[in-house]
């Protein structure tokens, strides 16, 4: 029930909107806070049961969602030592952000839209955390993605948030291709990916094709996780996502959403662990992202972008920890990082004020961090690194030159395969559109 509460709130709010009724701000705020408080208490009790009373994990099978004679998509939830702490963390942080948002978004024209999206996100995050199979996880994963994008474009009258939202959606969808491919191959090769019975080393021992299958599936999952966490090949989107309201940035890019990639890796750990290629890939991707993140963080010139790159640095380190097999450390790091980063994001609008306080408390001599490390790098290299960091690693320029421009050119060239080139090419149609032309 605690899992479904945010979803129920979203549905109730949507139906009341359809019927033309707009509930008062205070009622929406209180209902949301109450829902997450209830969820938090339930998940706390569950955590106590699992961690302190040492009760066994719960693999809850609630029947079939849909099935054909060959394939079954079960409604399966898994409450274990990984999912319950994440559920607890998610309910706590979403609840805190909801409480903060009530005042932050007060009298904003998009107040109801914001809370609707927050509740849908909460539902999606709970689904991801409690999913017993990768198909079920994917459902929550997509909900988190679309709510994230809609909140980036929250200020819909401004062109930048809208275009950044669209771009982030593009990154998400490309990353989702890898998750979909993992799901499809998991079905084909292992008969489905259920987290309670993951195919691992023991399942494929001594079989070359089995090893290859595990490696391919694990690499696909890693790429999907990179997309959600904005590390590795999907490094570029996180700073673009800072266009939304600050509380949404906190919950998505400081607290829960970006950590879901790590959660996926921890969830699929037996599968990832079975492949040396996959674990090394994690270490390399994580290390590279951490290095890049810290360089960019040090040269960024606004608070939220700095926080975004700092988040990427920590996520890169967590990826490395997972790759090195330190899953317990990674889980603790995830929890601590999510809490601290949420606080930092929520305080971001008061950053200067906070800085003055800290500055005064330090006696007026607050030295920048990391100077002793910078001194180790030769001057020329420092300049080169600074230039690279100012250009955000030239990530977008490389992406545009290597992928987007050729793809666009190809797509534009494909019009030659159509009957009469030039007709209605997007601007040739003028003001008279379609059936309006004859009137």
């Amino acid at each position: 029930m605690a899992l479904g509460l945010p979803g129920a709130l979203f549905l109730a709010s949507g139906l009341s909107w359809l019927a033309g009724y707009k509930p008062p701000e205070r009622a929406v705020w209180r209902a949301t806070k109450a829902a997450y408080l209830f969820a938090f208490l339930v998940f706390s009790a569950e955590a106590v049961r699992l961690l302190f009373l040492h009760d066994p994990d719960v693999d809850l099978r609630m029947g079939e969602w849909f099935a054909t004679s060959h394939t079954h998509f079960g409604l399966e939830l898994l409450f274990d030592h990984l999912s319950v702490p994440v559920l607890w963390l998610a309910s706590l942080l979403v609840g805190i952000v909801a409480a903060f948002s009530g005042r932050y978004m007060h009298r904003d024209p998009g107040f109801h839209r914001y809370f609707n999206l927050l509740n849908l996100f909460g539902f999606g995050a709970f689904l991801v955390a409690a999913a017993g199979s990768v198909e079920f996880l994917m459902a929550g994963w997509e909900l988190v993605g679309i709510t994230s994008v809609l909140l980036i474009g929250f200020f819909q009258d401004r062109p930048e948030p809208v275009s950044n939202g669209l771009r982030v959606y593009g990154y998400y969808r490309v990353a989702d291709i890898f998750l979909v491919a993992a799901v499809l191959l998991g079905h084909l090769w292992f008969g489905g990916i259920e987290f309670a019975h993951l195919p691992g080393g023991h399942a494929t021992a001594g079989s070359e094709s089995g090893d290859l299958r595990v490696t391919v599936t694990a690499l696909l999952l890693i790429l999907a996780a990179c997309g959600k966490s904005s590390v590795g090949p999907f490094f570029g989107w996180l700073p673009r996502a800072m266009e939304g309201p600050t509380p949404s940035s906190a919950i998505f890019y400081g607290a829960v959403s970006v950590h879901l990639g790590v959660f996926l890796l921890l969830r699929a750990w037996p599968l990832v662990h079975a492949s040396k290629v996959a674990t090394w890939a994690l270490v390399v991707i994580g290390g590279g992202s951490a290095l890049m993140g810290t360089l960019l963080h040090r040269s960024a010139n606004d608070a939220k972008t700095m926080l975004a790159h700092a988040t990427q640095t920590q996520l890169g380190i967590i990826f490395m920890e997972v790759g090195l097999g330190w899953t317990g450390v990674a889980a603790f790091h995830l929890t601590g990082h999510a809490i601290v980063r949420t606080a930092q994001f929520l305080r971001a609008p008061s950053l200067l004020h906070d800085h003055h306080h800290v500055h005064a408390a330090a006696g007026g001599s607050l030295s920048p961090t990391g100077e002793h490390l910078e001194a180790l790098v030769p001057r020329k290299a420092q300049l080169w690194l600074y230039r690279m960091a100012m250009g955000a690693g030239f990530y977008e320029a490389i992406l545009a030159r290597v992928l987007l421009r050729p793809l666009t050119r190809l797509a534009e060239g494909l019009i030659s395969l159509e009957p009469s080139p030039g007709a209605g090419r997007g601007h040739g149609a003028g003001n008279l559109q379609g059936e309006e032309a004859g009137r």
Binding site: T71, V180, G424, G426, R439
Partner: protein, 452 residues
Amino acid sequence: MNDTLPLPLLTAAVAALIAGSLPVGGPSFRRGCSVLSTLVAAVCIAWAIGLAPAGTTGAWADPWVPLLALQGPDGWLLLALCLITGCLVAAAPARDVKDGVTGGTVFLCAANVLAHAGTSPLAMGLGWALTAVPFLVGKKAMGGAGRHWLVPMLGSTAAFAAASVLARDGAGTGTIAWLLVLVAVVARKGLFPFHGWVVRMFHETPLAWVAVAFNGRLGSLLLLRFESSVEGIPGWVVDAASVLVIASAVVCSLRGLVEKEPRRLLGYLFVGQSGLVLGGVVSVNEEGFTGSLMHWLTVAVASSGLMALLRLMQSRLPGMDWAMRTPGLARSAPRLATFFLVFALALAGLPGTLGYCSQDLVLGGATEHSFAMGMVLAMTSALNAIAVFRIYTQLFLGVRPRDAVTVPDLLARERWPMVACIVFLLAGGLFPASVIRWKVPDLPRHEAGRRH
């Protein structure tokens, strides 16, 4: 199992639809009659489904016109098509009722019902050919444009007719007959290399007509009929169709990424989704077949909703250059924007909508059939999702031009048909098992000529 329905329900459904398409009375009366006729047809078909229980693989013939029969899963698809037509007519702008667009829409629905219910190639071909009639006689609605697409449509009908004649003469299993079937299917569905014609139709002909004409999915129907026949489809036809499905999906998803004109973009998306539906059919496995039928329903409802909303927007802002300007309608018309987003995301396979389950099944079936096809379709569906979200941002978000007038939100007449479509998509997404139950559970599987 072959049987006869106790009542002439199919005849009644077709007759009601034809009556509803007649241009009599004033606009309000005409709209009322058209909506009523689709509801009567839907009730007749639902009644027929009740009499011929779901799950039968046989044909339940009409007692008055034995050329018509309720076959396999067609009943549910016809029911959906009638209801969608009703929604399109109910939500259509007033000028469409005056110009006879709504009448043509209902007539197209009748032609589709005829084609689906036709037991013989003759009846099916007649229904197939009749879908061209509104486009031929509706010059006023089309403003004299859009005649060029008749070439592939008539070509497709001719190919279908030739294949039927060959089949009757005993050469039905021959290469030429199958080649003609393939041409008929590809031209009718507007798959590559005919996709450009469909996109032009989306751009230049009434959207309601396109919605009903193409959502009848007569091309897929033809293959489904052969799929469930005794001989099945030869392997090379399946392979050729798979290649065309992949080509269509790739070409249309790439074109969709750069197209700016919303109607044309919708056309590319539609062809891409048609490819996905056919991809499920040519997967020749249970998962693909089930997914294909579910996706058929998803695309029919979601794309019709999108077309209806786009038409409403264009009728509200007739002078707008939609390709070049962002009207920023979300603030003044939030319901229009939200409904559009839900339809678009259902088409993109958002969890919680029927599109998620149907795409999952189609992609699963396609991967089982051919690894490459599954992966390509997965990639193209992601690109389509980007395109569909882009069309939403282009139409509804962004800065509203200073000279743009405030656009009214959906009227009650327009809102509730759209709500019905959205409820179907959401309920289907939350309880997909009930939709799957509509299909034929034990479709005869033929191993001959198949590749697994």
